[in-house]
Structures are given as structure tokens and as C-alpha cells.
Amino acid sequence: MSDNDRDLEDTPAERQAPHRVIGTPAPAPGILADPERGDGDDGGKGTRPYGPGEAEAPELDELPAENPNPVSARNWERVAAALFIVSALASVAFIAAYVGLEVGGDTKGNVVVATLRSNLALGSAMALAFLAIGIGMVIWVRNIMPPVELAEERHPMASPKEDRQAFAETIIEGAEASQITKRPLLRRTLIAATLPAALAPLVILRDLGPEPKGSLRTTVWKKGTRLLVYGTNQPITPADFDSPGGMITVVPEGYQDNDEALAKATAIIIKMEPGQLQVPTRYDDGADGARTLLNSMNWTVDNIVAYSKICTHLGCPAALYEQTTQRILCPCHQSTFQANTGATVIFGPAPRPLPQLPIATNAQGYLVAQSDFQEPVGPSFWERG
């Protein structure tokens, strides 16, 4: 490449242009690189060393057999040997620790402490074994093996033109011999044959799961379903839940252990101070013109309001309740809902308020649902509307 010569022969005029060293990108002669120019040969041809006047790349035919500094090598050998012995002992210690230290049901004392002891012993032994041998090996390479630097030539990546030509020829020959280029009927029916075969593997995955249909629109709450306090599984009356600022998680009776039902049906009830609860009457104007009531003070009992616990952003339980600000905060992405005014979104990515569960009391005085939620709970989905 002509650029090679510049370094040794530049005139003052030529020195205006920057010196270019082999191997670095050529000053872009133009944005349009000429594909014919054979840029690809750059990587194969350069034989001059890097930069003017610096050391030649060492060319060795065989590796040195001896370390030029035998005394130092011998001392380092002792160090490496000691490390290898340490490693061997550590591996033995690992086996001993495994055999000797019990865990789980076989221990007599605290299980957690036994696990800690075993983990500590096994882990330290393993770490020591590996690190010692690693350090020893590095010492071996750096200080015992003689220093060496080799240069290996790179071959051009691009194949010679003749090879590429021959390749193209082979392809064409084969295509012609296969007759497929001359026989459109064969070709087209072959393609037609592969298409359904390609689709079939997708189709047979259909039974991975049921169709969603309308299942995301409803939960298991029905008229009269009692609210049970989650964990204690006890029903609750407004007289019990009478401390302003109280909040508790509730689940529908009969579904306490049903995770699939709870993933949509879990709710929270909050007791507000008198006058604090001001749920607006809010409607949803559906696509078909139907008006659905979404929030109402009639759905509350004695300053107790019930909301879905499932965040409308992505389904985490929106469980954090600040009684002083009446905010419900979802800890996942900090969507915040104003509980005393219908759980409207006041911060964060949630797209819509927490659905309100209509509650009332039954004949025995326990809190029950008046009906299911009046809108789909949880994250939005395409068909929600």
C-alpha cells in the first residue's frame, strides 16, 4: 500500500497530512468505499512492523528450554510447590469437612448454625484448594517458564478470487444439475410443501394452555361471599374492625388456599376516620354504550372501604397503606392510590384506580361482598377495553 512509504520519505509538504501507521484505519478517502478496491487485503498483506524504526517482531523457531534465571526459577518453584501442597491438603480438608460435619435432620443443635458451620468449612476448603492451585500455576507460568514472545502471521480472511469463483461455479453447477431452476412446477410445489410443515410445530403448541376467553374479567367474589381475614381465616364484623387507620388483607371464603383465585380476588379493607371517606360515584362508559358503576359510597360500610389488592400496573399486591395520608403504595414500582377518594392513581405507572369491591353486612353482621368487582382486576390487557 502506498501509505507505507510516507513515513520515511515525507517532505515538509507531505508532513501536513497526518502520518498513518499500518494497521490503523486509513483516512477515509471517501464515504463511499469502493467495493472493488480490495480493502479486504489489508489484513493479509502488511508485513512491515508497526511504527517507524521500532523493534522487529521476534521470530522464534522453537521455545527456549531453560529459564535464563535458574536461581530465581528454583526459588519460585519451591513457592509453587508449596502452594500445590496446600491445595492438596485443602481438598482433603474438604472431604473431611463433608464427612465430619452434619447438617439437617442429623444435627443435634440448631440447624441453621450447623449449616453455617458446614458451609464455612466446605467453602473455605474449596476456595483455598482452587486459589492455591491457581496461584501456583500463575507463578509457574510467570516465573518458572522462560519468557517468550512469538509472532504469528495472520492470513487474509478473504478467500482468493479464484476460490470464490470456483465456489460460485459449484453452486451454479449444482443448481443446474438439480434441475430446479428449469422446473418451476417442481420448485413451486416444493415450497408449497414446506409451508404447512413449518406451521405445524407452532400449531401443536396450542394445548399449552386454555384460551383466556372471559376469565380475566371476573373473580370468585359473589354476592354474599364472606370476607375472611387472610392468615387467621376468620370472618370479620364492622364492630371488630373499628379502629380508624386500620387495614387488613381479606380473601373470599372458600378460597383461602387457592392461589389462582387469590391472584385476582385478594382485597384489602381500610377503616377511615369519620368524614375522611369520600368515594366519588364513578361510571365507566363502555364501548357498547353501557354504563358500569365503578365506585360508590354505597359500597362501603361504616367508613370501611374495600379495594382490590392487585395493583393495576403489573399485578403485585398493592399492600402498603399509610394511615396518615390514606395512600396505598405498591412497593414494586411505586404506583400510589388515594384510598379515601376511590383509589385514584396519584403517582407512578399504574394506568387505572384499584377496583372497589362492593361490601355490605349479612344477617349475622359479618362483612360480605355485594357482588364481584365491577371491572377486571389487575394488569390491563388488550381485550379489557
Binding site: 535464563p68 534465571n69 440448631n110 441453621v112 448454625v113 449449616t115 453455617l116 458451609n119 464455612l120 467453602g123 491457581g134 500463575v138 507460568v141 510467570r142 516465573n143 519468557p147 381475614v229 387472610y230 392468615g231 387467621t232 376468620q234 370479620i236 364492630a239 371488630d240 374492625f241 373499628d242 379502629s243 380508624p244 387507620g245 386500620g246 387495614m247 387488613i248 388483607t249 381500610i270 377503616k271 399486591p317 399492600a319 402498603l320 397503606y321 399509610e322 394511615q323 396518615t324 395520608t325 395512600r327 403504595l329 412497593p331 400510589t336 403517582f347
Partner: protein, 272 residues
């Protein structure tokens, strides 16, 4: 840009740059911390025979904010109906008397001894009733079911206090404190009275036995050893990621630097 470039070698420029950076970072940090403010609120109390002593202590230390009749003021809520449990909690953890009004009343060493706290509690309870201080039997964890406590804790407490009780952030600079130092009784009282932003879990909603289970769970978790090594704060993948980068990658990068470093002879040309 030419102006900066032309002067970049002047020694003063370096000092100026460092100073500017320090001031900028300091101001930025100061601007974002310590923002927000809402005052604390308390729960309910119970009655006892030290009411008179309690009234004296109350008048000296509490009435300036809570009013001489505990009716509250613009900076503090009314304590009528707050109850003895609330007083025991707030004063026993040192949150009250409040040192400064901010987003959260922080825990600090208590000002009064336990006898004085009982007296103030008795006085406040005498004003309007409220939750009583739980008995020793109520807060004892003997025979408690920590497994039940675990489900209850995760369902009702972990969302603010974190699964291991390490605490968590609330809005406007408030926070749910870590549970490391709370005594059994303080935990019970906190659930019972709902201090500050914490909701109220009264004994009818969350019965005494369940509260004991929760306390058992908290105390057992606190006391539990970390079998896997240092706990890294028990706050989960955030600190784990930090350790993976700084400890893991850091150590391995150092090892890589050592493995590939030029030998002394190669650097100095000294082969002897």
C-alpha cells in the same frame, strides 16, 4: 470552548474545577435529602394509679405540643383516646418527645425511665381510654407458631418493613423502620396502635395469639444466624449485585492483571 481550552493548563483551573464539582455534588445532595414533612400521630392508651405523676411529667414534656389537656394543636394530634399502649411505644422507643418536626419521628434513646413512662401512659389513658399496654403473657413467644407468624408477617408487614424486617421507604420521606431493636412489647404495641403512618391492627382483627406468632417470627428471624455467610444487609439482590461487581469482578480483574502483567525483566530489561 476555546476559552476553557486556552486556559486549561493554568494550575488554578484545576482547583477551580475540583471545587466546583464538590460544591455541585454537595448542593445536589442537600437539595434532595431531608425534604418533606408531616407530623406524627399516636394511638390509644389505658389507665393506672400513677396518673398524678403522669400528669406532672406530661405537663412538663408533652403539653407544649399536645396541649395542656392533650387536646392536640396545629403541630401535634390529640391524645384523647390514644391509650397507654401508644404512649408506652412512642416514649419507650424515644420517638417522643419529638426532637424536630420532619417526615418521620426517628427512634432515639428514651428520655424517661420505664416507671415514668407508665405514669404518663396512665395519665393519657385516663383522659379517654384506648388500647392498654399488653401484658407479659400477651407478648411472650413461648409456644408461638412462627410458621403462622411468617405467613401473617409476609401478608401484612413485609410490604413496608421488608421480608427480613430491614425496613423500607414510604412516600414523602417517611419510612418503615427496621425491626432490629424493637422489643416484643413494642412490636405488639406498634401493631395495636399504628404509630405514625403505620396502619392499626387491633386485637379483634388480628387476635393476640396471631400477634404473638408474628412477634415470634420476627424475633427468631432476627436471632437467626446467616448460614450462607455475611448477610449483606438482608435486603436482597441490590447488595448482592454490588458484591458480585465489586467483590467478584473486582477480584477477578485484579487476578487477570496479575496473570498478564509483564514480568519485571521485560519491563526493565534486567535479566540478571
Amino acid at each position: 470552548m476555546r476559552w476553557i481550552t486556552a486556559r486549561r493548563r493554568r494550575p488554578l483551573f484545576g482547583y477551580a474545577a475540583v471545587l466546583l464539582a464538590l460544591v455541585a455534588v454537595g448542593m445536589l445532595y442537600a437539595a434532595v435529602t431531608g425534604v418533606g414533612g408531616s407530623t406524627a400521630s399516636a394511638g390509644s392508651g389505658s389507665s393506672s394509679a400513677q396518673i398524678a405523676e403522669g400528669k406532672d411529667l406530661f405537663d412538663t414534656s408533652c403539653s407544649s405540643c399536645h396541649g395542656l389537656d392533650a387536646q392536640g394543636s396545629s403541630v401535634a394530634p390529640s391524645l384523647i383516646g390514644a391509650g397507654a399502649a401508644a404512649v408506652d411505644f412512642q416514649v419507650g422507643t424515644g420517638r417522643m418527645p419529638l426532637k424536630e418536626i420532619g417526615a418521620e419521628a426517628a427512634q432515639k434513646p428514651p428520655v424517661f425511665n420505664q416507671q415514668q413512662i407508665y405514669a404518663i401512659a396512665a395519665y393519657v389513658a385516663s383522659l379517654g381510654g384506648g388500647p392498654a399496654i399488653p401484658t407479659d403473657q400477651q407478648v411472650s413467644t413461648a409456644g408461638a407458631d412462627a410458621g403462622n407468624g411468617q405467613s401473617l408477617f409476609n401478608a401484612n408487614c413485609a410490604q413496608c418493613h421488608n421480608y427480613s424486617g430491614a425496613g423500607g421507604a414510604l412516600t414523602d420521606g417517611k419510612y418503615a423502620p427496621p425491626l432490629t431493636n424493637a422489643t416484643n412489647r413494642q412490636i405488639y404495641e406498634a401493631m395495636l396502635t399504628g404509630p405514625e403512618a403505620m396502619p392499626v391492627f387491633n386485637d379483634e382483627t388480628l387476635p393476640s395469639a396471631d400477634k404473638r406468632d408474628i412477634i415470634a417470627y420476627i424475633t427468631q428471624t432476627r436471632a437467626e444466624a446467616n448460614p450462607g455467610g455475611f448477610s449483606l444487609g438482608r435486603i436482597g439482590p441490590t447488595t448482592e449485585g454490588l458484591v458480585a461487581w465489586l467483590g467478584g469482578i473486582g477480584a477477578l480483574v485484579l487476578a487477570a492483571m496479575w496473570i498478564t502483567a509483564k514480568r519485571r525483566e521485560e519491563r526493565t530489561g534486567d535479566h540478571g
